[in-house]
Structure formats: C-alpha cells, structure tokens
C-alpha cells in the first residue's frame, strides 16, 4: 500500500482515470451491478423507512453518548478477558500493535479486511519491523500482490477485471493463466490456507463493537475473517471508536441494512460475534485478544458540525450511486476512503490543507443521501465543508471573481447575448488551446441559442 496522500492532485488523478478505459469499464459494470442487486435485496423489505429511522436513531444515540459507550465497552471487553488499548492517533495505533506482536515473537501475520488498518497504514509498519503480513480477503490479497490500495471500501479490487487478476496470479504465483473467477478463487484458497494454519497472529477490523457485552462483530462472506479471529493463538482487532452499538439487541437492525446496502445480500455468509478470548472449557477463540480503539481525530469531529459523518456504517452504497465515483473510481480521491462518505471523512481526518479539492468532487445530486441506510446527510456535510474551504482560504479567488462576473452578465440580456456570440466566435481557439483539458472535453456552443429557438 502507499501511505502517500494524493488528494491535492484530485484533478490530475481524475484526468488519468478518465483516460483509463479498462478502469472505466470495470467501474461501470461494478456500480451498475451493485445498483440492481441492492434494489432487489430491499424490494421485499416492507418497513424499510422505519428500519432506517431506527438504525439512524441508534447511531445518533451512540454519538450523543460516545465517551460513555466507549468506557462501557472497555469495561465489558476487559471483563470478558480482552486487553483493550486506546490509541489517540495512527502512529500510536501502529506502535501498540507492533509491540503486542513482537513481544510474542510473531513473524507471520494473517489479516482480515480492515479499512481502519489502511487508515493507519499498518502493514508497511509491521513489514518494516520484519513481519510477513498477508492480506486474506480475496480483493485485498489481489491488490496487496499488485502493490495497490483499495479503491472501494467493500470490494477493494473493484477497479480490476478478471483478465488482469488472471495475469497477476500467473505471474506471481506461477499458476496457469485463467480468467475464471471461480478458478482464481480456488487458487487463492489453496495459497492462503497454508498461511492461516501456520500464522502466529491474526489482525482484523470490526464492523461493530457492543458496549454492553464487550463483543466485536464481524460481517463477512469469505470466511477469512473467521480464520483470522479463531485459528491463530493471538488476535489483534483494530477499530475506530465510533463503531459502538449499545447492546446486542441493537444488532439486528444493522444486520438487515448493512449487507443489503453493501452487496445486495439479505445477510452475509458469516456474522461473527466475538466476546473475549478463549476461556476455560472453550474449544474456540484466540488464546489472547487485544482490541485497539483508534481515535485519530474523531473526538474532534464529534465536537464539530460535521459529526453526523460518524454515523456511517461503511456499506459503500453512497459511492456506488455517486456519479463522480462511478466515473473516476476510488484511487482518484487519493486516500483511504473514497466516494461521498470518503471525501467528507478524508477532509475531516487529514485536514483541509491536504485534501481541499475533494470537497468539489460532488454534483450535490443527493443520490448518496437517498441510499444511505443510516441517513447520514452527506449533501449537507459536503456543502458545509465547501463553506469551510472558502472560510479557511483554500478556494481559488478566481472562482469567486468569475462567478460574480457571470452573475452580472447573466442579469443583463444584452450582455448575455454578447457573451453567447463571443463564445461561439472564439470557440475554435479555446478548444485548440485547451487540448485534453476541460475545454477539450466540452461540447461546442450551439449556433442558435436555446432561448431563440423557443417560441
């Protein structure tokens, strides 16, 4: 993975993405498929709006009382036998995990899919400490082999087609080329099974943490999450503090919404609820469980006006419907989280200085707001961040002057007509100068303006 944030180069990143025809075809196929599957999965749910209200209310309660729920989780998980660590930022989280692993002599680490571990750039840190870190989610396995980062929070290798994966496996694993997803899956199963059985430790994320019982909840399909958390003797889980739910009885609402929103499934193949390490009389569970709760700026977000972004349950539905994400893919956003939720979270977690072009990566069409299962007001949050971008002086002053000038011209019919005439007259020059840039992609002005064609 590459820890270097490239959000400031968002515009250049998008131009590169737009020229990548394989990427655009993969994105179109994937996001269209997601749309259909999601709609089919929700069709039989008759009380969907009530379900969304309930889930939204639970998340709001969690945020309103987050320190209390975190404390309660720490107490319950500790009582269940886990060791809980609080990390205030990425470097603290990396240090804690590296220390736990190296103190037990761990050399081979199998990892389950965890966006929070991507956020803190855990892998390169552990590798620098001499450990072998193997991503075991199929999509993560593919991009780790390619040296890439995830381009989607649910389907990390969404930007790759089956032929690219087939060639990668043939090159790196020395297996015969195949572009059949089932055959490629079997190859990964065989290669990774050996790793699971010989690993010294498993590192996972968690979808939810339950305050009352100290349980971790993992929602998965492949079974690698179950392997990572039950087969090696040591399990380290890393999650961000806002993933709290008050009680296990709150879980069903989220188990009904998350898989349907994420992959269009009624429920995923596996849902694991892990409460502490293996106890006397148990035949399942890691012998030792460490939980790292990451803040990394979230307490600050909680106190600000964008706190609703912390309601997010990471289903990825907002990116699948976003016209910008669907066109340019996830890498263009230049950090861990892409799409509408990602642009908001990236700006808040890494700061406007490192990410301000992202807040313009939205048409404010509201499709994300419509699909969000927990009612995160993404369009309002994006607008708020645009205001902040102007207030903090990151907006281009030419944009404001241009808009003011356009406002004057548009208010005067004579000036507006003159503008239209000028645009038509100078268009060939603008197009020639613009090259591949924005002007080069724009349609030529109409010979007769629309308003003169109307009766």
């Amino acid at each position: 993975m590459s820890p270097e944030q490239t959000s400031l180069a968002f515009r250049e990143n998008t131009v590169r993405a737009l020229e990548d025809t394989a990427l655009r075809a993969a994105m179109k196929h994937a996001t269209d498929t997601f749309g259909t599957k999601r709609a089919d999965a929700f069709a039989p749910v008759t009380d969907l709006e009530a379900l969304r209200d309930r889930a939204s209310a639970i998340r709001e309660d969690v945020l309103a009382n987050l320190p209390m729920y975190v404390d309660r989780f720490v107490a319950s998980a500790t009582r269940a036998g886990a060791t809980v660590h609080r990390a205030k930022d990425a470097s603290e989280a990396r240090e804690i995990i590296a220390k736990v692993l190296s103190a037990r002599g761990a050399r081979l680490i199998v990892k389950g899919k965890s966006m929070v571990s991507e956020e803190v750039d855990l892998n390169s840190h552990l590798e620098a400490a001499g450990m072998e870190v193997v991503e075991t989610d199929l999509g993560e396995y593919i991009i780790q082999m390619e040296g890439e980062t995830p381009s989607h929070i649910i389907v990390p290798a969404i930007h790759k087609n089956r032929r690219q994966v087939g060639r990668l496996f043939a090159d790196r694993l020395g297996v015969p080329y195949s572009d059949d997803p089932q055959a490629l899956t079997k190859i990964a199963r065989k290669a990774l099974r050996e790793k699971f059985l010989s690993a010294d430790a498993g590192v996972s994320g968690a979808n939810f943490a339950v305050a009352d019982t100290g349980s971790l909840v993992l929602v998965t399909n492949e079974g690698n999450g179950r392997m990572v958390t039950t087969v090696p003797p040591l399990h380290v889980a890393i999650l961000s503090i806002e993933k709290m739910l008050p009680s296990l009885t709150d879980l069903p609402a989220f188990l009904r919404l998350l898989p349907r929103s994420a992959t269009g499934q009624t429920i995923t193949s596996y849902v694991s609820v892990i409460t502490g390490p293996r106890k006397a009389g148990d035949a399942t569970g890691a012998k030792e469980l460490h939980v790292v709760l990451l803040d990394n700026g979230r307490t600050e977000i909680l106190a600000g006006e964008a706190r609703d972004i912390l309601k997010c349950i990471r289903c990825g539905a907002c990116m699948n419907v976003c016209p910008v994400y669907r066109t340019v893919g996830g890498h263009a956003y230049g950090w861990t989280y892409p799409g509408p939720m990602g642009m908001v979270l990236t700006t808040l977690l890494t700061g406007m200085r490192k990410s301000h072009p992202l807040v313009d990566a939205s048409t404010l069409c509201g499709a994300c707001v419509e699909v969000c299962p927990v009612r995160v007001p993404l369009a309002d949050l994006i607008l708020g961040l645009r205001r902040r971008k102007v207030d903090e002086g990151f907006a281009d002053p030419r944009e404001r002057r241009g808009m003011e000038a356009f406002g004057k011209v548009a208010a005067s019919p004579a000036l507006f007509a003159l503008g239209q005439w000028l645009a038509g007259a100078f268009w060939p020059v603008v197009r020639a100068l613009g090259g591949k840039d924005v002007a080069g992609r724009m349609a030529a002005p109409a010979k007769t303006p629309l308003r003169r064609r109307l009766p």
């Binding site: 075991t136 389907v155 899956t185 399909n221 079974g223 009885t249």
Partner: protein, 165 residues
C-alpha cells in the same frame, strides 16, 4: 410465527442461500440422510458430544479429531434463524466453532425446536451472556471480489448441508 411456519420459512431461505436442505423425522431417517450426503470414506470430524452426534458418529469409519485434517464436519449446531435461513453456531459447552469453517463440506444438524423466528429473537436470547464465539452461517463461503461474479468456497466450506430433525 408458529413452529411449522418457522420451519417452512427457514428451509426456504436456507435453500435460497445455496445450502442443501433435508428434513427428517427420527434417528433412522437421520442416519439414512447422512448416508446420502456424506462421502463415507472421507475423513469426518464428528465430535460425538450430543446424543444426535453420538448416533451419527457410529456411521463414519474414518473419524478424525483435528478439524484442519477433516474433509467433512458433521455436527449438531446451536440453532437456526427462519428470517434469513441462517445456522447459529456457538462455542458454548466447548464446541469448536471452526469445525464448520475448515473442512470443505459442512453438515449441520438442527433440532426443529431450536429455530428462532427472527434475528431479534436470537439476539434477545443471547444478549445477556453471549458465548466466546457466536457465528451466524448463511450458505457456503462466497466472494464476489472479482468483477462482482459470485464464486463459492473461498476460505470456508464449498458445500453446506442442513438436516432438520
């Protein structure tokens, strides 16, 4: 939801999730069903803890005690959920939950009276004192990580059979 409704809805949803479903009335029927779905010469993990498992275990000449070495697991599980066609596996009572994960074929036996109607019913029952590991299993292991094309049997079982007794 009546018991008959729970059973019907469970079987229907489990089949939709690509599990093989079988419904039997007594131990004789159960053994006959196991004879049909399990490859008899395969290494079978069958813990033989419950009375149902003890009856089943006698069938298999090649029983192994290491779940990683087994090709098939035959076990009685904690329960099931009608709403989603889900099996509930629990570590309670020293059960090895990974037994339903490592072998390529998982054969789960569920007693009819252990079918919960909904996810809410299950979590209301376990919320006070959950076991170390509670895993909900719906169909075989799957992925859609390559071009969103469904592939079965990634890291967990490629085949799941459920026998209701």
């Amino acid at each position: 939801m009546s018991g008959a409704d729970r059973e019907r809805i469970f079987l229907q949803n489990a089949a939709t999730a690509a599990a093989g479903t079988h419904s039997v009335s007594d131990t004789g029927d159960l053994l006959a069903a196991l004879g049909r779905v399990v490859a008899m010469d395969a290494p079978v993990y069958c813990p033989g803890v419950t009375s149902i498992e003890r009856a089943a275990a006698a069938l298999f000449p090649n029983r192994v005690s290491d779940t990683a070495a087994a090709a098939v697991t035959v076990e009685e599980v904690f329960g099931a959920i009608a709403e989603t066609g889900t099996l509930v596996c629990s570590s309670e009572g020293g059960r090895a939950v990974q037994a339903g994960l490592l072998p390529a074929h998982h054969v789960a036996i569920v007693r009819r009276e252990r079918i919960f109607g909904t996810l809410d019913d299950l979590f209301a029952a376990v919320a006070g004192a959950p076991p170390t590991n509670l895993t909900l299993v719906t169909g075989p292991s799957r992925t859609a990580d390559i071009e969103l094309t469904l592939a079965i049997g990634v890291h967990g079982p490629e085949k799941l059979d459920i026998i209701l007794v």
